[in-house]
Point group: C2
């Protein structure tokens, strides 16, 4: 028996149901059984919704070509929230997907006011090296800085701009929309849709794994694909939606609040300290907890187990049950998490160091 | 003695004076005497205004490096209005300027709904081959399609977008500003400013010869240069402003009204027909004209002489005087123009054919 986390149970975003009802995101649970050897995050309901994943599934099962696209802004440190997406990329790559990864450096450079050198260092050392260490292989892999790519990519930005209106941007991003935001959104559309062009391999089936807050982007991008179906032969991209990891303090996980997230490059000591201080589903007293049991569905440490640290469903179920019935108390549980995390981080960080040179080799570092 | 056409005398745009008073464009007449061997269009007051041309003049006289930048949309046929800009480029090239020419194909493609093949054909065959035939040499010459250029160029578009506001765009281009127009304006800014980047040669002194209606673009671009002075080392571009040629029918010269313009690829017969039908400064009757004299400053045929067909100032002055005092009547004058034009077109069109292959060779025709 496998555990299904309740996607509506998140303490941060409580309106997942709206996504199904109002916006037409389909439930991932309805196709999960057809997916061969689904990823842990799929199996456990963390990936809870999708658009058009049927078409991707058909490619997977028939072993036909398809692509996965994602992007990140190289402005901060990589944490376990990012790892959720990368883990999915690794899984897709094993299903023979072509992987496209955009490093949104123009955005990082302009919004965060980081120096060019810093943006490049973060992009390559923090993100790309980590991705390789997480198991992404250097095959069928396309990593690019947004500021240093092929002209055909930029041409899409130019063309897309002509078939959009200011009203659309305002409806999606608010009336304080700026030229910078417009160009950024158009760039993201080019990121998602460019693998379909012949010059990039002609991948007509592309899936974008995102957090549910990214659905407005996805919807807009699907509309754009429709508008350029005839002219450029674009098809709508598919998408999957995953829950966010709760921050360790119960708030939103964010690079800007270091105690809310464990960074993949945190020292094991620092990481253990964060776990020790993390918000759990424990009760007010040991007495009470023994009597009522804990609430693992509200526990950020249990989330760590479920999303990252424990691969075996039975083992996870066992922790869940022992917490629920008051046998496993938070102190012991945290110690277990700290031990697992320490081992994982040490292994990972060694692999990351080993992949540093390769990370630079396979990335089109801008020289201007 | 040279003829100075009155720049306020245009029948189309009557508010040139506003440009000096309200917007701070400086009078070209005030520096013309310092320019070694000035171009015919400068000498005759067709180029009537400038911003910061002093700095360009200093480069010309000291033989230091500088650049000239222009662009055109490859959506229609090239006519004598375009030739005015190209003639200036040829002059600048002889002054050792580096020449940058943008082919705004994304714009042509999207706005005019032309096919990719048609846009490329027009860009190369109609414009580039004509430029070479007009005397532009294949040295210190950079011609590029906007959709197929270096990533560093696109990076400027991304960066510029972040330091502009929607209000600025609305103030300059009206409240019906669109994402397409925004990207187009940002691209034009990148066109004008990119020669300053090291990777494109580091030309810190750039002059943009434009029609006076383009000054809002120039002002906005100069502001952007200020905003990126520290970050990218950009300097304000210089500019010159020229009168528009009056359409042969007295209206605006435009590719979309074929009888208003003579195209460089018009057959001599067609061109002669257009001259024959052109609006002149003649009087109601021969009697009257002999008595009062003609009005060459209102004559589109005289404009053709002054802007294009007659290089010698004395010869032009002679026509002007003979018209003024009623000796030269419109019929004879037009025949003279037709003869000059026929000779010019035949020569030009031969040169254009000869340059067709070179035009393709030196242009980065998009292959995607």
């Amino acid at each position: 028996m496998s555990i299904k986390l309740d996607p509506w149970g998140s303490q941060i975003i409580t309106d997942y149901s709206k996504l199904f009802e109002e916006f037409g995101i389909e439930k991932f649970s309805e196709i999960i059984d057809k997916i061969p050897n689904p990823h842990l995050l799929m199996r456990r309901g963390v990936v809870f919704g999708h658009r058009d994943f049927h078409s991707i599934l058909a490619r997977i099962t028939s072993n036909e070509k398809f692509a996965v696209m994602t992007g990140f802004m190289p402005s901060g440190r990589i944490h376990f929230g990012h790892k959720m997406v990368i883990d999915q990329l690794v899984w897709y790559q094993k299903k023979n997907a072509e992987i496209f990864i955009a490093i949104a450096d123009a955005e990082a450079y302009a919004i965060r006011r980081l120096s060019r050198e810093e943006v490049i260092r973060i992009g390559v050392e923090e993100y790309i090296a980590s991705m390789l260490a997480l198991g992404l292989e250097n095959k069928r892999l396309h990593i690019y800085f947004q500021t240093n790519y092929h002209p055909a990519y930029y041409r899409l930005i130019q063309l897309f701009s002509r078939k959009t209106t200011l009203s659309e941007f305002k409806a999606l991003y608010g009336s304080d929309i700026s030229p910078g935001k417009i160009v950024s959104v158009l760039s993201q559309m080019a990121d998602i849709l460019h693998p379909q062009l012949d010059i990039f391999g002609g991948y007509k089936y592309v899936v974008v794994p995102v957090g549910s807050d990214q659905d407005p982007h996805i919807r807009f991008t699907r509309d754009i694909a429709d508008r350029f179906r005839k002219e450029l032969g674009l098809e709508r991209p598919a998408s999957t939606y995953h829950r966010f990891m709760t921050g360790l303090d119960g708030g939103k996980m964010s690079s800007s609040r270091p105690m809310s997230a464990i960074f993949l490059t945190d020292s094991p000591e620092k990481a253990k300290e964060k776990i020790w201080k993390a918000l759990t589903g424990g009760r007010g007293s040991i007495e009470e907890q023994k009597k009522l049991g804990g609430e693992p569905e509200k526990c950020t440490v249990f989330e760590f187990f479920a999303y990252h640290l424990i691969k075996d469903d039975k083992e996870l179920m066992d922790i869940y049950s022992r917490c629920k019935n008051g046998d496993l108390l938070c102190g012991d549980c945290k110690k277990m998490a700290m031990e697992l995390l320490e081992r994982w981080l040490k292994d990972f960080q060694k692999r990351r160091e080993k992949n540093m040179e390769l990370a630079y080799d396979i990335t089109n570092v801008p020289e201007f």
